[in-house]
């Protein structure tokens, strides 16, 4: 064998110097399915406080939005099975309280940066079911004329800055948007969503150090649904309490019950106030994804029981619904009416998207540049 090909090491694999064999990444966890559940205490009487703060209207709007998100994704899922939507489609079902709770705490001046599981964020920020569904269909009436797609939803007018598909990359953009808010001396914050699997990506650590050092108005939201594709948090993280990840950035960190929209709302509200004082926050929001990672994922890395218990015990919409009824904010009938309306709206968005024309062929070569002194090619 050629000289200098590390020859001295070639034959050493077989020999065992008496050290017992230990694997690298641990196997699928045997921990109870709820080992990553929110275990903290949400402030007592928080709901009442929020009710006082926002009023019944807004609470009902949160309920409506959460239902909209769920019905929308159910329709998207169906449309995917009918091959109306192709490619990767990442549904948000189960995580509705996170998007709705966050957005309720933001103002129009604030900004949002998200990843590829962003349909819920886009709708909660105020985008219409029609423009989002049409984008999923790749049609002309989509928010990006069908050129972006399911993973790349944008709405510049609402400061909704995507919709990005490279895991972790969005945090640097989010820090950049927060940087811009501070640079312009705007009274605004940027919320950036990350998954529990994204936290390990190097750029997340680079960005959070700068955000803390520079006092950027950035709120990092770990949408901790316990899995990165088929891999649960503890299989790829040296610590399972993700708030520990930012100790090295001296950043405010908190674990939040992501299935409780009141808890999410108030955590983000407080974070926004801190952010405007130049103190970024890191929220590890414990939630759960009911469906597979994407439409093609059978999700057999977790038990049917695990999913059922989540749905039965902690569903965020059921929890809010019950609270509303118990506190007589609205009647059964009123809530059913909202549900029916949302269902109708989302079904209508499918028809709208289906009937929307394909983007014009000329769109193929537009929007590559603002100004280009030559024809493309």
């Amino acid at each position: 064998m050629a000289k200098g090909t590390n020859s001295k090491n070639l034959d050493q694999v077989e020999e065992n110097n008496g050290r017992e064999e230990t694997p690298f990444t641990p196997g699928r966890h045997e921990l109870p399915y709820d080992h990553l559940l929110f275990k903290g205490k949400t402030e007592k009487g928080l709901e009442k406080k929020v009710l006082k703060e926002l009023g019944a209207e807004k609470i009902l709007k949160m309920f409506e939005d959460m239902v909209r998100l769920r019905r929308f994704e159910e329709q998207a899922g169906r449309a995917y099975q009918m091959r109306k939507i192709k490619g990767f489609c990442h549904l948000y079902i189960g995580q509705e309280a996170v998007a709705v709770g966050t957005m309720a705490a933001l103002t129009e001046a604030d900004s949002v940066v998200s990843h590829y599981r962003e349909h819920g964020h886009a709708l909660a920020r105020g985008m219409t079911s029609n423009e989002v569904m049409a984008e999923l269909f790749g049609k002309r009436d989509g928010c990006a004329k069908g050129k972006g797609g399911s993973m790349h939803i944008f709405d510049a007018e609402r400061n909704f800055y995507g919709g990005w598909g490279i895991v972790g990359g969005q945090i640097a953009l989010g820090a950049g948007v927060a940087f811009a808010h501070k640079y312009r001396k705007e009274d605004a914050v940027c919320v950036c969503y990350l998954g529990d699997g994204a936290i390990h990506q190097g750029i997340v650590h680079e960005s959070l150090n700068m955000a803390a050092l520079w006092g950027l108005p950035l709120i990092t939201i770990i949408e901790n649904n316990r899995y990165a594709m088929g891999t649960s948090v503890e299989r790829i993280s040296a610590v399972t309490d993700l708030t520990q990840k930012v100790v090295g950035y001296d950043m405010y960190a908190e674990t939040v019950d992501g299935q409780d929209v009141f808890a999410v709302y108030s955590a983000v509200k407080a974070a926004a106030e801190r952010a405007k004082e130049g103190k970024p926050s890191f929220l590890d929001i414990r939630t759960y994804r009911y469906r597979g990672h994407s439409m093609t994922d059978p999700a057999d890395y977790r038990s049917k029981e695990e999913v059922e218990q989540e749905q039965d015990l902690r569903d965020p919409i059921v929890r809010l619904r019950n609270w509303i009824l118990n506190n007589k904010i609205a009647t059964q009938e009123e809530l059913n009416a909202i549900d029916d309306a949302m269902d109708a709206e989302c079904k209508a968005s499918v028809v709208f998207a289906d009937q929307s024309p394909m983007p014009d062929v000329s769109e193929l070569t537009t929007d590559v540049y603002v100004e280009w002194p030559f024809d493309i090619e």
Partner: protein, 327 residues
């Protein structure tokens, strides 16, 4: 002969090489418990255990670097990139570390690593997930680059890549994983740097690789009906590419079209076309033709994506032009 899918041919190559050489291990996202995002590593965890089939966090630079470091000591890592769109995050480890290690150490070290995964457009995946980025690697001295088009080639080439003492970038075609073809039971190796004539013809040469081999063969069928007899050269390895096979074919046909899935500027296709124009200057009866993706990010809409990618008809048109023939 038995027919198996491209993904299973790759799986066999991995299993056989891991069986043969304990220095070989597989590392990447979802390669173990999940059996691979595209199921290329199906069954390997059960067979070889968690010491040799290793799930990683989502840190392309980090686990590629761990592969480079392990290879530096003589191990034979196979690093799976879920797709090469994400491998950009690891490019520094490949370009600045793996590719330069041997030269900077004056030949003391070598880096027998294979970085493999899916490349090209998968279909309605949008701009960030639909790129053919082989040019990023073909440009770099110290690297070798292979891109198989068939299950037969995939198996024989991956086995060669794993045995190669230098860093090999092995780009698979995302849309070909399910593609079936004949693969013998007996062991075989397809040496690095050897092209393959996938169809022989007399009138015009098409030089291509990976998924575009199939588009080109389709185009050849269309053209056969028009009386144009096309030779399809599948380079298989693009760095180094098989110059002699190209020379031989073009000296026979005097007309050539280079077809690639990716963008036109500073691409592998532009380099091969340039090589032909200069090296075979006196043998060409027409300018070299080129077919490539449109010079734009990949659109999501399913009416636009096919217009951005090369097509059999587009290739046929380029061949007609090279033959000064019109439909």
């Amino acid at each position: 002969m038995r027919e198996i899918a491209y993904r299973d041919a790759l799986n066999e190559a991995l299993a056989e090489e891991m069986e043969r050489d304990e220095r070989v291990f597989l590392i990447g996202e979802e390669v173990a418990e999940y059996n691979g995002a595209y199921k290329v590593s199906r069954g390997l965890l059960d067979r070889f255990g968690a010491r040799r089939v290793i799930d990683t966090p989502i840190v392309e630079a980090g686990f590629a670097g761990i592969g480079v470091g392990a290879a530096m000591t003589g191990l034979r890592p196979v690093v799976e990139m879920m797709t090469f769109n994400f491998a950009i995050l690891a490019l520094d480890m490949i370009v600045n570390h793996a590719a330069k290690m041997r030269y900077m150490s004056g030949g003391q070290l070598s880096c027998p690593i294979v970085v493999r995964g899916a490349g090209g457009a998968g279909g309605s995946l949008g701009a960030q997930h639909s790129q053919s980025l082989e040019a990023q690697y073909a440009h770099i001295p110290g690297l070798k680059v292979m891109m198989p088009a068939t299950p037969y080639d995939a198996k024989g080439m991956l086995k060669a890549a794993i045995r190669d003492p230098d860093p090999v970038i092995f780009i698979e075609s995302e849309v070909l994983y399910g593609f079936k073809g004949e693969v013998p039971e007996e062991e075989y190796i397809i040496e690095l740097g050897q092209g393959d004539i996938k169809r022989s013809g007399a009138d015009c040469t098409i030089v291509t690789w990976s998924r575009m081999v199939h588009f080109s063969l389709e185009a050849a069928e269309i053209l056969a009906k028009e009386g144009i007899d096309v030779e399809v050269v599948d380079l298989r390895t693009i760095r180094p590419f098989d110059k002699d096979m190209i020379r031989e074919s073009v000296k026979k046909t005097n007309r050539v079209v280079v077809v690639e899935e990716g963008w036109p500027m500073a691409s592998v296709g532009s380099a091969i076309s340039d090589f032909i124009s200069r090296d075979l200057f006196d043998w060409l009866d027409a300018p070299v033709g080129r077919v490539h993706q449109r010079d734009v990010p990949m659109p999501y809409a399913y009416n636009l994506e096919p217009l951005s990618l090369p097509s059999a008809e587009g290739i046929a048109e380029a061949v007609r032009a090279a033959c000064y023939r019109n439909k």
